[in-house]
Amino acid sequence: MDIDHDTLVFFSKSWGLFYLLAFAICVLAYTFWPSNKKRFNKAKKSILDPEDKPWQ
């Protein structure tokens, strides 16, 4: 098969676009998934814990 400039442009304008959209949906779903909320809230507060020793 001959891959020329137009083939690549077609590929990036169709599949490339959908792949980026699908990726954006995955990231948004992960970020706003309700059950992740508690984990994120814990993560942002836990770095303020003054304890300076590794957990054993």
Partner: protein, 547 residues
């Protein structure tokens, strides 16, 4: 340092050092008719020095298992010291090259002191020497603290830190004797590049091993930024530096890419070096040290995740905006321009997230110069990403490209964002790492802050003026259709701005010296029970930013 290594790690350290020394000897022999000989002997001396340092402490008692109850901080401390030493050295070179533009006689007729050789010494010294050591040190700190786990061994971290500094040393000494690949921010030749790959892969493995040992189930967002920085820099470095040396006995190599492909690969590398070396890693610092210093959680954790993926995916495509109006296909230029404009969204999300974290604690920003360093860094991050997106637009680029405006833009990022966030992080980190109540002198932190801010502002205003005037003079035509100004005319017009930028750089340089002195005195002299001054975070009120 050696006393913290176990017996088997000491043996490994000696083995690796001797191996490096043997490689150096081989290069010195093979390259005896080339400048490579100098680097061969340098590598030999470096390897022997490391080997002797370890042998010297070989019979010190081994560390006990008690070490496992604390984090491994020794390489972090060394990294901070190395970073500040590189900052002072490379800022001095920066002031020197800036002076060369106003007073060209300052080369003193020496080939090694010509502008073309000193400039990469300045850029490499700042980006890799200062920035790289700061990133390695803070990433070692953040990865252990946020994972609640000690790094898996003591040797890897030292190999990464010392190996990285060997790379910096080879780069900088190489430029002075005329060794260069002529690729911006990737000037180091093939043997230094191969060495950096070994060091960098070890760095990545060490980071992942520490994360794998984590006791905290969630990986804090700062680690994502640091990991993106390490992983992407490895990919960029390898692809951009694929080259064939003339022979094993020659420093010179030729890239496998040619023509416009070479240019595209170079600027894909170059812009992502800005994105992942000078942005992602330093955002990792911002997302950890800013909340810790302010004693307030980040305004929106979700926003930090969204901006992470935005930055990671958009930046990859932006490099071609460096090649507007070149032989690069027009659609590739447009692609780079479009992604550059889109980048404004995740960039401002990060800058806004940082500033909104401080919302409600402005009195602390007013009183605490360390927090102010980080606040101003976030502002400059917002400003320079806006400016970058703007300059990537093709018609704007036709005015700004090849002028001092670009130089001003880079320094708004490097001085205003990268250096200020680093100093803020160091002033947070140093007292806690050395178990001091506060920095030796909060007043000197204040002096450093104002010198750094004044220096940055003087520098970028000079370059904005200079760049726009340059751009306009180069495109002004007479009624007859000829250029109104010669190149020399524009050079004469630049003269006052070149003096101003030297002054700005000098202020910043003096600030860095004061900062180094303050860190040094904190480590050496502060009594452990000093008064709690204004230089510590107020932990009494842990406020929750709204989300």
């Amino acid at each position: 340092m050696v006393s913290t290594l176990t017996r088997s790690e000491r043996q490994a350290a000696i083995g690796v050092s001797v191996l490096v020394a043997i490689c150096g000897l081989a290069f010195a022999a093979l390259g005896r008719h080339d400048v490579l000989e100098i680097h061969g002997f340098l590598i030999l001396a470096f390897g022997l020095l490391c080997a002797f340092a370890v042998i010297n402490g070989y019979y010190e008692p081994e560390p006990t298992d008690e070490r496992l109850a604390s984090y491994y901080d020794a390489p972090i401390k060394a990294g901070i010291a190395l970073s500040m030493a590189w900052a002072v050295f490379a800022l001095f070179i920066g002031v020197w090259v800036a002076s060369l533009l106003a007073w060209p006689n300052l080369t003193f007729d020496q080939a090694w002191a010509s502008f073309g050789r000193l400039r990469p010494v300045h850029t490499t010294g700042i980006i890799f020497g200062f920035g790289g050591n700061a990133l390695i040190a803070t990433s070692f700190h953040v990865m252990q603290r946020t994972s609640r786990a000690r790094m898996p061994d003591q040797f890897s971290a030292w190999f990464v830190l010392i190996g990285f500094n060997l790379f910096c040393l080879l780069s900088v000494t190489g430029y002075l004797v005329g060794v260069t690949q002529s690729k911006e921010y990737a000037e180091a030749e093939w043997y230094a590049d191969i060495w950096l790959v070994i060091v960098w892969v070890t760095y990545f493995i060490l980071y992942v091993r520490t994360i794998a040992r984590r006791k905290e189930p969630h990986i804090y967002v700062a680690n994502w930024y640091f990991l993106a920085f390490i992983l992407v820099v490895a990919i960029l470095h390898i692809v951009n530096n694929i080259a064939v040396p003339v022979s094993l006995g020659h420093a010179k190599s030729y890239p496998v890419w040619s023509g416009v492909q070479d240019a595209m690969v170079q600027w894909w590398y170059g812009h992502n070096a800005v994105a992942f070396f000078l942005t992602a890693g330093f955002l990792g610092m911002l997302y950890y040290y800013l909340p810790v210093r302010a004693q307030r959680p980040i305004f929106s954790y979700r926003l930090s995740i969204l901006s992470f993926w935005g930055i990671t995916f958009f930046y990859m495509w932006a490099g071609s905006h460096h090649l507007h109006y070149t032989a690069l296909p027009h659609w590739v230029q447009t692609l780079g321009m479009t992604f550059s404009v889109m980048l404004l969204v995740p960039s401002w999300a990060s800058a806004g997230n940082a500033l909104l974290t401080l919302n409600g604690a402005w009195h602390r920003v007013r009183d605490d110069a360390t927090l102010r360093f980080m606040m101003v860094a976030a502002v400059f991050y917002g400003l320079s990403t806006f400016e970058g997106s703007f300059m990537a637009i093709r018609p704007v680029n036709s005015l700004s490209h090849y002028t001092d405006w670009t130089v001003g833009h880079v320094h708004a990022g490097a001085l205003g964002w990268v250096a200020l966030i680093t100093f803020g992080s160091f002033y947070t980190l140093v007292p806690s790492l050395w178990k001091r109540e506060r920095m030796y002198s909060p007043a000197l932190v204040e002096v450093h802050f104002w010198l750094a801010l004044a220096g940055t502002l003087v520098y970028i205003f000079a370059m904005w003026n200079s760049g726009v005037i340059q751009g306009l003079m180069w495109r002004t035509y007479t009624e007859e259709g000829t250029l109104a100004y010669s190149f020399i005319d524009s050079l004469v017009a630049m003269y006052p701005y070149y003096i101003a930028r030297t002054l700005g750089g000098l202020l910043f340089f003096v600030g860095a010296i004061i900062g180094s002195y303050n860190i040094w005195m904190t480590v050496r002299a502060v009594p452990l029970a000093a008064d709690r001054g204004s230089d510590i975070p107020d932990s009494s009120a842990v406020a929750v930013a709204g989300e």
